[in-house]
């Protein structure tokens, strides 16, 4: 029994190491100067930081960071607010209309955003939203709303109606009831939605690459991809830029692991 336990332990360690290989390579590459032709497997000989400095300057990562933070923060706030608001009537008043609306909102989950890229791009250009943060924010909000509404509605269903009735007998209006009683109760599912949307928006490339084309509107992923096509031979810079862009989310993940894993997985459980 003890022997098999040891074997299992060894197995998990081997698996962990294999899974860490890409991250190890990312780190070694980002700390090596371009003229260092030693194998990527070898750790860097000296602590060489120029890759980070150059990547920061050349890819304009400072601006990209500001854009990323701004777009992610506003999108997350809007998704939480609009999603919670939309879910309340859908969960509490299951009239025929609202049941239909619920299905309508959820069914949008099966439309992969990319399939409507052509008309969407034309539309955004027509309304003057190209390279504008507000346009990409509205797109992120729209495409993250279905799952948000799904999660919030499910959660509100579990809050007893008696709570609403008690508050209404005390003379509260429906709206203040929602904002003062229901909203505070939504905390756990709000954390889930924030992580889900936050990770999606922070990492997004497939929208940003189309709708944020001017260099001052670039987010991190778009800045990196245009940087990569420019300096395809200078992998050190690209690695340093990639590492910098992922670092905030990796640090958050390591500290809030429990919430990340349960949050992202409950986002997955939508079928």
């Amino acid at each position: 029994m003890k022997k098999s336990k040891k074997a299992l332990l060894l197995l998990t360690m081997v698996i962990s190491i294999i899974h860490l290989i890409p991250f190890y390579l990312l780190i070694t590459v980002s700390f090596k100067p371009a003229d260092d032709t030693s194998s990527k497997w070898l750790p860097p000989a000296t602590l060489y930081l120029d890759n980070f400095i150059n990547a920061w300057k050349e890819a304009n990562l400072g601006q990209a960071f500001v854009n990323n933070i701004l777009i992610t923060a506003i999108s997350v706030l809007l998704v939480v607010f609009l999603g919670a608001c939309a879910s309340y009537p859908l969960a509490r008043y299951k009239t025929r209309l609202n049941r239909f609306m619920f299905v309508f909102f959820i069914s949008a989950m099966i439309v992969p955003p990319l399939t409507i890229l052509v008309p969407l791009y034309k539309f955004i250009v027509d309304i003057g939203g190209l390279n504008q943060p507000w346009a990409i924010i509205l797109l992120h909000v729209t495409f993250n709303l279905p799952i948000t509404i799904f999660l919030f509605t499910g959660f509100i269903n579990t809050i007893p109606r008696e709570l609403d009735e008690a508050a209404m007998i005390d003379g509260m209006s429906r709206f203040s009831l929602f904002f003062r009683i229901i909203m505070p109760l939504l905390k756990p599912v709000t954390v889930t939605v924030m992580i889900l949307t936050g990770v999606n928006v922070w990492n997004d490339y497939q929208f940003s690459v189309f709708f944020l084309q001017s260099s001052e509107s670039h987010t991190l992923t778009v800045a990196l991809s245009s940087f990569f096509s420019q300096y395809v031979n200078n992998v050190g810079w690209v690695a340093a830029g990639s590492l910098l862009s992922s670092l905030p989310i990796i640090i958050l993940y390591l500290f809030l692991q429990k919430y990340f894993i349960s949050g992202l997985s409950s986002g997955a459980v939508k079928g």
Binding site: T12, L90, L117, P119, L138, L139, R174, I250
Partner: protein
């Protein structure tokens, strides 16, 4: 909560006091009832209708950014619009007919299916194996789970770059190993036979963690008694897995398969960062080729048609899989 019908019943249940009296009471009560009913109904309707205002912003966003473009996309796919000029002609079904004769469409659909179905297969097999392993009591369980899940939070574009360092021809980490055994390095990312599978592999590696976590959660819902009962009946560990674990995991299997199918079929970022769909069309999927036709070839009408094809493909495959697996869940 008050319901008008309940009031009607309680009021009508008052005792009758002779013919004359009853009529008076009746009309009085009836008008009262009607008054109350009307008032309540109006109040109820107005408060719920007013509350529906709360989903109007969301509804507006959906109509503007999903449903309007969706129907507009159908319309564009019947034109020869180039993507920027003001004028275009209606060409009917020509874009769809063109698909049938497109020499690359076979490769593109095959690749899309490899990304979708291939990733699904591997994510589920490996994810389930990892979940079974990590379901055992051991010290390193937490940290291993953290490590396997880590790639999920990285941008797929960046994940592609990271693996590029591994697979690249010139000084790639894989070639450092290969050069120990043979003289020529492999140019695996430019090899049409290999690069599709590499992309599928990277996608699998990245999202394996989600499948694993969902399976772990599923495993924890299986009561221990089931295994004990099976053991008493003399079931081998394989039989226990087949007859207890798998059927009990069916809901998790459904979720994972549908999720991974959709994720793989619409894969975009990893392809862009590893091969850009090349060489030629060798590793293009529907999503990347659509991008190419729209922005590089100024062929918006055809790109829109490809988008619709992708929509149909993804929804047909994922909904079929969902219905099939749900049925199995019930049967099993």
């Amino acid at each position: 909560m008050f319901r008008p019908y309940q009031i009607k019943q309680t009021v009508l249940a008052t005792p009758e006091n002779g013919k004359k009296g009853r009529r008076i009471v009746d009309t009085e009560v009836r008008t009262q009832i009607q008054f109350v009913k009307k008032g309540l109904r109006r109040k109820k309707i107005s408060s719920t209708v007013w509350l529906n205002v709360m989903y109007l912003p969301a509804l507006l966003l959906f109509i503007v950014f999903i449903f309007y473009p969706f129907f507009k996309g159908l319309q564009i796919s019947f034109t020869n619009w180039d993507g920027f000029s003001q004028t275009y002609d209606w060409i009917g079904l020509d874009n769809y007919k063109r698909m049938l004769h497109d020499p690359n469409i076979g490769t593109i659909i095959k690749n899309t299916l490899i990304y979708g179905i291939g990733s699904t297969l591997f994510q589920n097999i490996i994810g389930l194996a990892y979940a079974l392993l990590l379901n055992q009591e051991m010290k390193t369980r937490g940290i291993t789970r953290t490590i396997i899940y880590l790639p999920v939070i990285i941008s797929p574009l960046i994940m592609g770059y990271i693996w590029y360092f591994f697979f690249q021809y010139d000084g790639g980490a894989l070639n450092d190993i290969i050069l120990l055994f043979r003289n020529t390095p492999l140019n695996i990312l430019a090899d049409p036979q290999w690069n599709v599978w590499i992309i599928m592999f990277v996608n699998t590696y990245q999202y394996l963690g989600i499948a694993m976590v969902i399976y772990l959660a599923g495993l924890q819902t299986i009561p221990r008694d089931f295994y004990e009962a099976a053991q008493i009946d003399g079931a081998s560990s394989w039989q226990r897995f087949k007859h207890v674990t798998l059927p009990m995991l069916m809901p998790s299997i459904t979720i994972n398969i549908v999720l991974n199918l959709v994720g793989g079929l619409k894969l975009f970022d990893v392809i862009i960062s590893l091969t850009k769909g090349g060489p030629g069309y060798a590793s293009q999927s529907l999503s990347t080729v659509m991008y190419k036709y729209y922005f590089a070839s100024m062929d918006a009408g055809y790109a829109a048609a490809l988008g619709n094809l992708m929509f149909v493909l993804i929804s047909v495959i994922s909904i079929t899989a969902l219905i099939y697996l749900r049925r199995k869940e019930i049967a099993g």
